[in-house]
Amino acid sequence: MSDQSLEQRAAQAKQQLDAHVRECVEWHFNPATGCDYWLNKAKKLDFDPLKDVKCFDDIKKFPHFEDDDLRGGPVERWIPRGLKDKPAYVFETGGTTGLPKSRVVMEDHWIDYEIFSETLPDEHFPKGANWLMLGPSGPRRLRLAVEHLCQVRGGICFCVDLDPRWVVKLLKKGKMQEANDYAEHVIDQALTILGGGHNIQCAFMTPKLLEKLAMKLIDQGSSIRQKGIKGIFCGGTELNQQWYRFCHEELLDGAYIAPTYGNTLMGLACGKPFDPADNYKISYYAPQPRAVVEIVDFKDYNKVVGYGETGRVKLYTFTKELFIPGFMERDEGEREKPFNKFPWDGVSGTRPFHEIAKSTVVGVY
């Protein structure tokens, strides 16, 4: 495809985003359909979202979203009136100490993962195959989302319990051995499932657990691939270029890895499919127009950096269930150019934001 056609596709995507944003703002700031939180917030704004937001760029009139607002109850303040009759889930993020941040969801986690499913290569994630989910469970959305992904693709998902808050507590207390014992406990369960004749060919795993499982299998004279797993969907900021290469060269024995980037607020950004020419660089693209990723200047969060330049990750969510007009993620990375499959900006090299990196415990599970 020529540059011109990419430009056209990018322009189309921009138009689609602008229209989607208008529609989303109309929904969230309409007293009949919006939620209490945003309807109350609108009274304190010095502009009228319904009149003054006509495109994505107008979203920058909103102050940055403070995720601390998501802590505590009543969580009903987040439920759009237009969806009040739908069954609601509440998913939590953080919460090792103190109140976790809560997000109320009806169907977004399903929709996000259905869209993600479209990006997975069938040869590595065969339709109808069963899945193993080896990641955080409990109040996290990941377990239900991965299970839905598997079901959408015609499989059944086998899950293992994992409580990351407990692992963070152990690490903060310096109880490394106990943290390792817990990881072993998780891996043992995974091995039992994999050995149970369940036709598991796909998996979600966190990088740390993937590493542990792969090495345990290597020690047993086997491998992830030999155990039948063809494709692994994996996420986390510790999934960097070097680790990605290490996985390909030493850990996976030919199994495919689909890196992803996301959080409870935004959903799931897809990785650009593996291409040897990229030299293991991992670039993520948000599921536009439902979510947008920008890389912004460290000193001016409304200024997008140039392509290839480094900045802080800024996320936007525009679904009927949630409106987030610019949230400063705890990560940084480089701005990536659009490409044919995702004709909008992406991000590569995601890593903890350098100003808070030292106080953040990442990749605990």
């Binding site: 090495m215 290490f246 850990l251």
Partner: protein
């Protein structure tokens, strides 16, 4: 600018992830360190046995000879480093430029490392108490007194999580190589120089490269070494010490809280010992765990504090290239400021006075564009109860504490090096029996004057090897 790869048991590995090592004054990038990841270390641990096997293909005596050759190469050779080469002068310059230690101190640390390598036969003879070293290779044998003994290596490799700011500590792990134990090292982010140079010196002296792995990298690299190596030496803070306390797999080295004590029988002649006190506090820029951070006496504490302060108070930072430079820079942003604030906060508690202030003619904390200095600080503590009575900071800082001799051993707390100047036999006995003291000097010995024939924070032989029973014939009838 140098590009320095990861070393995986002798094989170079170019990582996709690199971190710059910068000059602490100019900010210039001096090298790009290729970064390992924890998984890489864990994969390599599966081949750790080969490192010991490679070393066991040489007799310990041959390895000792190679260590002596390595000492010369390390001290005088121009050795490969990453995609470049490095002369001894370049080594000193770059180590100073990234650690903040004055160049002449880097050169002195270099000589110290070379001395231990050069005298490895004597070091091992002392630490093994004369054990024929082939017993360690073979696993058993007959000692000179005709007794069968057996030693088993606790691990084929020694994991090392090395510090960034103390190039003098490397002497501690050097004996591992002639003991036929491989090395898996995580160098400090600002001081990769010694491990890489030592590796090249060893290799060029004939020691198999397969015995060495060097993994510059983030914290998870250290975590992987701690998790996977049967024996690990780690250098860190008091928090690190507490975290690994009681773990027999980990030899942890951190603050020393070293002390110099004058007994009641000599304290009236304290002026005679002033040089020893000043040097113990001040040499190597007070950066080492073996620098005295406390001078404990039962009387004359104010005069002693004043006399030390008079010597150290005027000392000011000089360029690290200046042969007269005595102060090391703090290269980690915010560290010096935080230490300074902590000292000031503690001084708010009644019972302590900073004595250096009147001799310094300026503030303790000297912030510069890219680094900071802390000027020498001597605090007088009226009693051992004051929070500054038992503290350690990485610059020339010491508290002169007034404490009755009868209470000293109980009050000094955990002490890495204790120099006690006394002729009082009863006091000497108390000191000899004190389990809170690691290295004990009784006499006029500066706390930094280490004899390498003595064990340091435990004997490395006992750490790396397990002595066990072995019989190849029935015992005599009994």
């Amino acid at each position: 600018m140098l590009e320095i790869p990861v070393i995986r048991f002798g094989k170079t590995y170019d990582s996709m992830s690199k971190e710059p090592v910068v000059h602490f004054e100019t900010g210039e990038t001096l090298a790009q360190m290729h970064q390992a990841n924890g998984g890489l270390v864990k994969m390599d641990l599966r081949k750790a046995k080969n490192a010991r096997e490679a070393l066991r293909s040489f007799a310990p005596e041959a390895l000792i000879e190679m260590c002596k050759k390595a000492a010369d190469l390390y001290l005088e050779g121009t050795l490969p480093l990453g995609d470049g080469k490095q002369s001894p002068a370049e080594f000193v310059r770059i180590q100073s430029a990234t650690t903040g230690l004055p160049e002449h101190m880097c050169a002195s640390n270099m000589r110290k490392n070379a001395f231990v390598l050069k005298n490895m036969d004597k070091v091992l003879d002392a630490l093994t108490r004369g054990l024929p070293l082939d017993i360690l290779t073979k696993g058993y044998g007959i000692e000179g007194r005709g007794v069968t003994v057996s030693y088993q290596a606790n691990s084929p490799v020694l994991g090392l999580v090395l510090p960034s700011n103390s190039p003098g500590v490397h002497t501690l792990w050097l004996p591992a190589i002639p003991l036929q134990v491989g090395l898996m090292m995580k160098p400090g982010s600002s001081e990769p120089w010694t491990p890489y140079r030592m590796y090249e010196a060893f290799a060029q002296a004939g020691i198999p490269r397969e015995a060495f792995a060097i993994y510059p990298g983030p914290h998870d690299v250290g975590g992987a070494l701690l998790e996977g190596c049967g024996r690990v030496m780690i250098f860190g803070s008091q928090q690190t010490i507490q975290q690994h306390a009681g773990n027999p797999r980990v030899s942890v080295h951190g603050p020393g809280f070293s002390k110099l004590i004058l007994g009641d029988d000599v304290v009236d002649d304290w002026e005679k010992y002033l040089d020893i006190m000043v040097d113990s506090v001040f040499l190597n820029s007070g950066r080492s765990c073996i620098n005295a951070s406390g001078i404990w006496v039962s009387r004359h504490s104010r005069e002693i504090a004043d006399a030390i302060a008079k010597r150290l108070g005027p000392v000011a930072p000089l360029s690290p290239t200046d042969p007269k430079a005595t102060l090391a820079a703090f290269c980690i942003p915010g560290a010096a400021k935080a230490i300074n604030e902590q000292i000031e906060n503690h001084l708010q508690t009644p019972g302590a006075t900073e004595v250096t202030a009147s001799y310094r003619g300026g503030p303790r904390h000297i912030p510069q564009e890219r680094c900071d200095y802390l000027r020498p600080t001597i605090v007088h503590c009226e009693s051992a109860d004051h929070p500054l009575a038992n503290t350690e900071y990485m610059f020339p800082f010491a508290s002169v504490v007034e404490c009755p001799q009868s209470e000293m051993v109980g009050r000094i707390g955990s002490t890495l090096v204790c120099t006690a100047i006394t002729h009082d036999e009863k006091f000497k006995r108390q000191l000899l029996d004190a389990t809170n003291i690691d290295r004990l000097n009784i006499g006029e010995v500066k706390t930094l004057s280490l004899n390498w024939l003595q064990p340091h924070e435990g004997n490395i032989i006992d750490f790396l090897f397990r002595e066990r029973a072995f019989q190849d014939a029935p015992p005599p009838a009994h």
